[in-house]
Symmetry: C2
Amino acid sequence: MAKKDTFHQHVIEALQKDNWTITHDPLVVKVAGIESQIDLGAERIIAAQKGKEKIAVEIKTFGELSFITTFYGAIGQFITYRTTMRVEHPDRLLFLAVPIVAYKTKFNERVIQDIIKEQNIKLIIYDPHKKIITQWIK
Amino acid sequence: MAKKDTFHQHVIEALQKDNWTITHDPLVVKVAGIESQIDLGAERIIAAQKGKEKIAVEIKTFGELSFITTFYGAIGQFITYRTTMRVEHPDRLLFLAVPIVAYKTKFNERVIQDIIKEQNIKLIIYDPHKKIITQWIK
Protein backbone atom coordinates (compact mmCIF):
# COMPACT_ATOMS: atom_id res chain seq x y z
CA MET A 1 0.00 0.00 0.00
CA ALA A 2 1.30 3.48 -0.78
CA LYS A 3 2.61 5.46 2.20
CA LYS A 4 -0.14 8.01 1.50
CA ASP A 5 -2.87 5.38 1.97
CA THR A 6 -1.19 3.84 5.03
CA PHE A 7 -0.92 7.22 6.76
CA HIS A 8 -4.52 7.97 5.78
CA GLN A 9 -5.63 4.84 7.66
CA HIS A 10 -3.42 5.71 10.64
CA VAL A 11 -5.00 9.16 10.99
CA ILE A 12 -8.46 7.60 10.86
CA GLU A 13 -7.48 5.16 13.60
CA ALA A 14 -5.96 7.98 15.67
CA LEU A 15 -9.15 10.04 15.39
CA GLN A 16 -11.27 7.05 16.38
CA LYS A 17 -9.09 6.47 19.47
CA ASP A 18 -9.80 10.11 20.30
CA ASN A 19 -13.57 9.34 20.15
CA TRP A 20 -14.24 10.85 16.77
CA THR A 21 -16.66 9.13 14.39
CA ILE A 22 -15.54 9.16 10.78
CA THR A 23 -18.59 10.31 8.84
CA HIS A 24 -17.15 10.70 5.32
CA ASP A 25 -14.13 9.05 3.72
CA PRO A 26 -13.62 10.78 1.41
CA LEU A 27 -15.59 13.95 1.98
CA VAL A 28 -16.61 14.93 -1.54
CA VAL A 29 -16.21 18.63 -2.17
CA LYS A 30 -16.73 20.21 -5.58
CA VAL A 31 -13.76 22.46 -6.25
CA ALA A 32 -13.91 24.63 -9.36
CA GLY A 33 -16.34 22.25 -11.03
CA ILE A 34 -14.25 19.17 -10.26
CA GLU A 35 -15.38 16.67 -7.63
CA SER A 36 -12.53 16.29 -5.19
CA GLN A 37 -12.44 12.49 -5.18
CA ILE A 38 -11.44 12.42 -8.85
CA ASP A 39 -8.74 15.02 -8.26
CA LEU A 40 -5.98 12.42 -8.08
CA GLY A 41 -3.19 14.88 -7.40
CA ALA A 42 -4.79 16.00 -4.16
CA GLU A 43 -4.96 14.27 -0.82
CA ARG A 44 -8.34 12.91 0.15
CA ILE A 45 -10.24 14.84 2.77
CA ILE A 46 -12.11 12.99 5.49
CA ALA A 47 -14.86 14.24 7.76
CA ALA A 48 -15.41 13.38 11.41
CA GLN A 49 -17.79 14.29 14.20
CA LYS A 50 -17.66 14.23 18.01
CA GLY A 51 -20.81 15.44 19.76
CA LYS A 52 -21.80 18.61 17.93
CA GLU A 53 -18.27 19.30 16.68
CA LYS A 54 -17.72 18.64 12.98
CA ILE A 55 -14.33 18.69 11.29
CA ALA A 56 -12.76 17.97 7.92
CA VAL A 57 -9.16 16.80 7.73
CA GLU A 58 -6.69 17.13 4.85
CA ILE A 59 -4.16 14.40 5.59
CA LYS A 60 -0.60 15.12 4.49
CA THR A 61 2.13 12.48 4.44
CA PHE A 62 5.19 14.58 3.52
CA GLY A 63 8.35 12.79 2.54
CA GLU A 64 7.47 11.72 -1.01
CA LEU A 65 8.42 14.94 -2.79
CA SER A 66 10.66 17.66 -1.31
CA PHE A 67 9.23 19.16 1.86
CA ILE A 68 8.70 22.59 0.35
CA THR A 69 6.94 21.29 -2.77
CA THR A 70 4.58 19.27 -0.58
CA PHE A 71 4.05 22.30 1.63
CA TYR A 72 3.08 24.49 -1.37
CA GLY A 73 0.51 21.93 -2.48
CA ALA A 74 -0.81 21.46 1.06
CA ILE A 75 -1.31 25.19 1.63
CA GLY A 76 -2.89 25.75 -1.77
CA GLN A 77 -5.27 22.82 -1.28
CA PHE A 78 -6.12 23.88 2.28
CA ILE A 79 -7.00 27.44 1.26
CA THR A 80 -9.02 26.25 -1.73
CA TYR A 81 -10.98 23.69 0.31
CA ARG A 82 -11.62 26.14 3.11
CA THR A 83 -13.00 28.69 0.64
CA THR A 84 -15.16 26.03 -1.03
CA MET A 85 -16.38 24.58 2.27
CA ARG A 86 -17.50 27.99 3.52
CA VAL A 87 -20.42 27.60 1.08
CA GLU A 88 -20.91 23.82 1.03
CA HIS A 89 -20.06 22.90 4.64
CA PRO A 90 -20.22 26.11 6.70
CA ASP A 91 -20.47 24.22 10.02
CA ARG A 92 -17.30 22.19 9.51
CA LEU A 93 -13.79 23.26 10.61
CA LEU A 94 -10.90 22.27 8.33
CA PHE A 95 -7.63 20.89 9.73
CA LEU A 96 -4.34 19.98 8.09
CA ALA A 97 -2.94 16.71 9.49
CA VAL A 98 0.86 16.67 9.59
CA PRO A 99 3.06 13.75 10.73
CA ILE A 100 5.04 14.54 13.87
CA VAL A 101 8.48 14.14 12.25
CA ALA A 102 7.73 16.71 9.52
CA TYR A 103 6.21 18.99 12.13
CA LYS A 104 9.22 18.82 14.45
CA THR A 105 11.90 19.13 11.78
CA LYS A 106 10.33 21.59 9.32
CA PHE A 107 7.46 23.55 10.81
CA ASN A 108 9.74 25.49 13.15
CA GLU A 109 11.09 27.48 10.18
CA ARG A 110 10.03 31.09 10.53
CA VAL A 111 8.35 31.42 7.14
CA ILE A 112 6.30 28.27 7.75
CA GLN A 113 5.21 29.55 11.18
CA ASP A 114 4.32 32.95 9.68
CA ILE A 115 2.15 31.36 7.01
CA ILE A 116 0.38 29.03 9.45
CA LYS A 117 -0.44 32.04 11.64
CA GLU A 118 -1.37 34.50 8.91
CA GLN A 119 -3.51 32.00 7.05
CA ASN A 120 -4.99 30.72 10.30
CA ILE A 121 -4.28 27.10 9.38
CA LYS A 122 -5.42 24.66 12.06
CA LEU A 123 -3.18 21.63 12.52
CA ILE A 124 -3.51 18.08 13.76
CA ILE A 125 -0.12 16.56 14.55
CA TYR A 126 -0.19 12.78 14.32
CA ASP A 127 2.22 9.98 15.12
CA PRO A 128 1.84 7.45 12.28
CA HIS A 129 3.67 4.72 14.20
CA LYS A 130 1.70 4.92 17.44
CA LYS A 131 -1.43 5.82 15.45
CA ILE A 132 -2.30 8.64 17.83
CA ILE A 133 -2.87 12.36 17.62
CA THR A 134 -0.20 14.12 19.62
CA GLN A 135 -1.41 17.71 19.31
CA TRP A 136 -4.30 19.87 18.10
CA ILE A 137 -3.17 23.36 17.14
CA LYS A 138 -6.11 25.72 16.72
CA MET B 1 12.88 22.12 -24.42
CA ALA B 2 10.24 21.47 -21.74
CA LYS B 3 7.04 23.51 -22.07
CA LYS B 4 7.89 25.07 -18.69
CA ASP B 5 11.21 26.43 -19.99
CA THR B 6 9.72 27.59 -23.28
CA PHE B 7 6.94 29.54 -21.52
CA HIS B 8 9.53 30.95 -19.11
CA GLN B 9 11.41 32.42 -22.10
CA HIS B 10 8.18 33.71 -23.65
CA VAL B 11 7.26 35.63 -20.48
CA ILE B 12 10.73 37.15 -20.37
CA GLU B 13 10.37 38.26 -23.99
CA ALA B 14 6.87 39.63 -23.29
CA LEU B 15 8.16 41.67 -20.33
CA GLN B 16 11.05 43.02 -22.41
CA LYS B 17 8.62 44.12 -25.15
CA ASP B 18 6.78 45.97 -22.37
CA ASN B 19 10.04 47.83 -21.53
CA TRP B 20 10.95 45.82 -18.44
CA THR B 21 14.57 44.94 -17.78
CA ILE B 22 15.10 41.43 -16.47
CA THR B 23 17.42 41.87 -13.49
CA HIS B 24 17.44 38.33 -12.04
CA ASP B 25 16.76 34.98 -13.72
CA PRO B 26 16.27 33.23 -11.43
CA LEU B 27 15.70 35.47 -8.43
CA VAL B 28 17.22 33.44 -5.61
CA VAL B 29 15.06 33.47 -2.52
CA LYS B 30 15.81 31.39 0.55
CA VAL B 31 12.60 29.64 1.55
CA ALA B 32 12.64 27.71 4.82
CA GLY B 33 16.39 27.30 4.63
CA ILE B 34 16.34 26.06 1.03
CA GLU B 35 17.59 28.25 -1.78
CA SER B 36 14.82 28.51 -4.32
CA GLN B 37 16.90 27.66 -7.37
CA ILE B 38 17.56 24.18 -6.05
CA ASP B 39 13.88 23.66 -5.26
CA LEU B 40 13.28 21.70 -8.44
CA GLY B 41 9.58 21.18 -7.90
CA ALA B 42 8.88 24.88 -7.91
CA GLU B 43 8.77 27.28 -10.82
CA ARG B 44 11.65 29.67 -11.08
CA ILE B 45 10.97 33.25 -10.10
CA ILE B 46 12.37 36.09 -12.17
CA ALA B 47 12.83 39.71 -11.23
CA ALA B 48 12.35 42.75 -13.44
CA GLN B 49 12.56 46.51 -13.17
CA LYS B 50 11.07 49.48 -15.09
CA GLY B 51 12.04 52.89 -13.78
CA LYS B 52 11.63 52.67 -10.03
CA GLU B 53 9.14 49.81 -10.19
CA LYS B 54 10.49 46.42 -9.15
CA ILE B 55 8.62 43.15 -9.57
CA ALA B 56 9.13 39.43 -9.12
CA VAL B 57 7.22 36.99 -11.30
CA GLU B 58 6.28 33.37 -10.59
CA ILE B 59 5.68 31.95 -14.06
CA LYS B 60 3.07 29.21 -14.29
CA THR B 61 2.57 27.08 -17.37
CA PHE B 62 -0.52 25.07 -16.42
CA GLY B 63 -1.45 22.09 -18.54
CA GLU B 64 1.13 19.55 -17.39
CA LEU B 65 -0.73 18.27 -14.33
CA SER B 66 -4.46 18.75 -13.70
CA PHE B 67 -5.46 22.41 -13.48
CA ILE B 68 -6.44 22.23 -9.85
CA THR B 69 -3.24 20.44 -8.73
CA THR B 70 -1.18 23.11 -10.51
CA PHE B 71 -3.35 25.80 -8.93
CA TYR B 72 -2.74 24.43 -5.40
CA GLY B 73 1.02 24.46 -5.96
CA ALA B 74 0.92 27.93 -7.52
CA ILE B 75 -1.03 29.46 -4.64
CA GLY B 76 1.09 27.75 -1.99
CA GLN B 77 4.31 28.87 -3.66
CA PHE B 78 3.01 32.41 -4.19
CA ILE B 79 2.01 32.84 -0.55
CA THR B 80 5.30 31.36 0.68
CA TYR B 81 7.42 33.55 -1.58
CA ARG B 82 5.44 36.66 -0.75
CA THR B 83 5.94 36.01 2.97
CA THR B 84 9.66 35.35 2.45
CA MET B 85 10.15 38.36 0.17
CA ARG B 86 8.57 40.72 2.71
CA VAL B 87 11.85 40.36 4.63
CA GLU B 88 14.37 39.79 1.85
CA HIS B 89 12.91 41.99 -0.91
CA PRO B 90 10.45 44.41 0.71
CA ASP B 91 10.45 46.79 -2.27
CA ARG B 92 9.47 44.17 -4.83
CA LEU B 93 5.88 43.30 -5.81
CA LEU B 94 5.18 39.62 -6.59
CA PHE B 95 3.02 38.59 -9.56
CA LEU B 96 1.74 35.22 -10.73
CA ALA B 97 2.03 34.87 -14.52
CA VAL B 98 -0.78 32.77 -16.03
CA PRO B 99 -1.16 31.82 -19.71
CA ILE B 100 -4.24 33.37 -21.31
CA VAL B 101 -5.94 30.05 -22.14
CA ALA B 102 -5.82 28.84 -18.52
CA TYR B 103 -6.98 32.25 -17.37
CA LYS B 104 -9.96 32.37 -19.74
CA THR B 105 -11.10 28.79 -19.22
CA LYS B 106 -10.42 28.24 -15.51
CA PHE B 107 -9.98 31.45 -13.59
CA ASN B 108 -13.63 32.43 -14.01
CA GLU B 109 -14.65 29.70 -11.50
CA ARG B 110 -16.05 31.37 -8.40
CA VAL B 111 -13.73 29.68 -5.89
CA ILE B 112 -10.67 30.67 -7.94
CA GLN B 113 -11.87 34.28 -8.15
CA ASP B 114 -12.58 34.31 -4.39
CA ILE B 115 -9.08 33.07 -3.57
CA ILE B 116 -7.38 35.53 -5.93
CA LYS B 117 -9.30 38.38 -4.28
CA GLU B 118 -8.98 37.25 -0.66
CA GLN B 119 -5.30 36.45 -0.97
CA ASN B 120 -4.69 39.61 -2.98
CA ILE B 121 -2.83 37.72 -5.70
CA LYS B 122 -1.61 39.97 -8.48
CA LEU B 123 -1.70 38.46 -11.96
CA ILE B 124 0.09 38.88 -15.25
CA ILE B 125 -1.84 37.27 -18.10
CA TYR B 126 0.43 36.32 -20.99
CA ASP B 127 -0.05 34.98 -24.48
CA PRO B 128 2.72 32.42 -25.01
CA HIS B 129 2.20 32.32 -28.78
CA LYS B 130 2.32 36.06 -29.43
CA LYS B 131 4.85 36.46 -26.58
CA ILE B 132 3.02 39.43 -25.16
CA ILE B 133 1.41 40.38 -21.88
CA THR B 134 -2.29 40.82 -22.43
CA GLN B 135 -3.32 42.04 -18.98
CA TRP B 136 -1.98 43.16 -15.61
CA ILE B 137 -4.43 42.49 -12.77
CA LYS B 138 -3.46 44.31 -9.60
